[in-house]
Symmetry: C2
Subunit: 319 residues, 2 copies
């Protein structure tokens, strides 16, 4: 059942022995939402625990500084920023049928909880958690503000992406008023690249080729590059956005070589062009700005197919 | 004489035949401030003109869409975002002794105007212009909001830098309410790299060397790289920030080869370390986070001097 802000705040007020869950491969929004909620609920005198299928990478560990997880049999289970129950992952899939409350901002949310507080207009789930804490009368201090700001800035690319609303900026302002270390969080989240990332980025940049009057760019991330650079998935996060940023490029593809052979293609389009239309030709899909599809062919064959598809797309667009 | 917001608004209301000046090598803040002011004052029925010593690069040309410059002998001259009179540049230096009003947010502002409205806490000069327009009772429409947002987002690195205040975020929120195309402006300002930039960036990445347990990184931008990539000054804007972003790097230097020989060094430091202390050893200076100095030696000699200075600095810091 879908519920609203006031009901969500009321349910949380009444609950105790609460387990908060983040999605697997946790990002700043799921962890910021969980840590803010855990810290706030524990301060209210409730017993609170947290679980996530994957470990928390170092840059997010500070979020849980003021929270001491407790051990108990949960009576109330809350999932934050989890769009689909399959995103719980192995370690927490035992809770898949017993989630009492889901708080989420994903437009693709597939309802799985007894109660769901959903707002696809929210820039981040932490923005929703901020509103919940305000309605609950919780004092948002520096620690909680840092958690909430982390989710807000990571999900909006530091207020750069199109999901940034005036409300998101106002929430960020209120979090700064509450003491959020915005500049330091931004530095850690956006201004720090691993050595492996720098190496992988350099190799990926070298692989870029241009086609169709430089309007289509292709970049490769091969198994060999990953090995040579020592990069992990987290290291190459966001790299696929790079070729689309090049001046004049309208469509950009990043070909990621799969461990089991074949390629996963991530396609980006500059507005008003539509990457999902091209991916649909190959059985893939996504959004206008970013879409994906998969291939089992060799690299050169994949490239040829993409060049043809993009060329056909441009022709159909009359450009 | 220093004046306040209300007086500034009153002076502009009374003025006519107004010339607005931007600084040379104009950026988003000086142009956003000037275009917003020109557009607003012209709508109030005043005769308005604009001048700048250097041409406006394409990405900023939209700012002046709603403004038609007029020809007249100026009776009131306003300088926006100009910290020092020498920044007028050749084409407008004729006005250096006759500036009636300066509106600026630089902490280093050297007063040169008859009246100065200064606020070093403002994240951008456009943030100050927004307040002025509000006090003047000007309706901030989409066009003016776009001008003001451009200055705010470019001067704060899209709300990432430490000069971003809660007020800056609130002003951005109000500009979005007024219709600013934030996502599109962010895309043009931050998500577009020239082909030459990509080439220069790749070469610069390849030049990075690490020293002192990888805590000190050095990057080169040589004349040869500039030639090979075809990059202009505007193309390599911000590139010097790159080596400091690498994980574990506390001090980073970018060695820029000068046309007339020698090197200009841009030094960056991760808080709490201080780049200006190291640059001071070589007769340079700047801020804690970013400082600079110059050398007339060959590259290898410059590198050795820097390695020694940084090593000494780390030792003095007890790290």
């Amino acid at each position: 059942m879908r519920i609203k802000l006031d009901q969500t705040a009321e349910l949380l007020k009444q609950a105790d022995d609460i387990l908060v869950l983040s999605h697997k491969s946790p990002d700043g929004d799921t962890l910021g939402s969980a840590s803010a909620l855990c810290t706030a609920l524990q301060r209210m005198g409730k017993r609170v625990s947290f679980a996530c299928s994957d470990p928390i990478v170092p840059k997010y560990q500070n979020l849980f500084n003021a929270f001491v997880p407790e051990h108990f049999t949960p009576k109330y289970i809350v999932a934050v920023d989890i769009a689909d129950i399959v995103l719980l992952g192995k370690e927490t899939e035992q809770y898949q049928n017993s989630i009492d409350l889901a708080i989420d901002h994903h437009v693709s949310h597939k309802e799985y909880a007894h109660m769901s507080f959903l707002d696809s207009c929210a820039a981040s789930t932490t923005q929703m958690v901020y509103d919940i804490l305000c309605v609950m009368g919780v004092a948002v201090d520096k620690q909680i503000a840092n958690c909430l700001y982390t989710g807000l800035c990571t999900d909006t690319g530091c207020f750069r992406y199109s999901n940034t609303t005036a409300k998101a900026l106002r929430t960020a302002a209120r979090l700064m008023d509450a003491g959020a270390d915005a500049a330091e969080i931004n530095r850690v989240m956006f201004d720090t690249k691993s050595h492996a990332r720098i190496k992988a980025e350099r190799m990926a940049l070298e692989s870029i080729t241009f086609h169709d009057k430089d309007r289509f760019a292709m970049m490769e991330i091969t198994k060999d590059m990953m090995e040579q650079s020592g990069a992990t998935e987290s290291d190459i996060d966001g790299l696929a956005a790079l070729p689309r940023q090049i001046e004049g490029v309208l469509i950009a593809a990043t070909l990621r070589e799969r461990k089991d052979g074949g390629y996963k293609v991530s396609l980006r389009a500059t507005p008003p062009y539509d990457a999902s239309v091209i991916c649909a030709e190959f059985g893939g899909g996504g959004h206008k700005g970013a879409a994906g599809c998969s291939f089992h062919e060799e690299k050169d064959a994949v490239k040829q197919k993409l060049i043809q598809a993009v060329s056909g797309y441009f022709l159909a667009q009359g450009i």
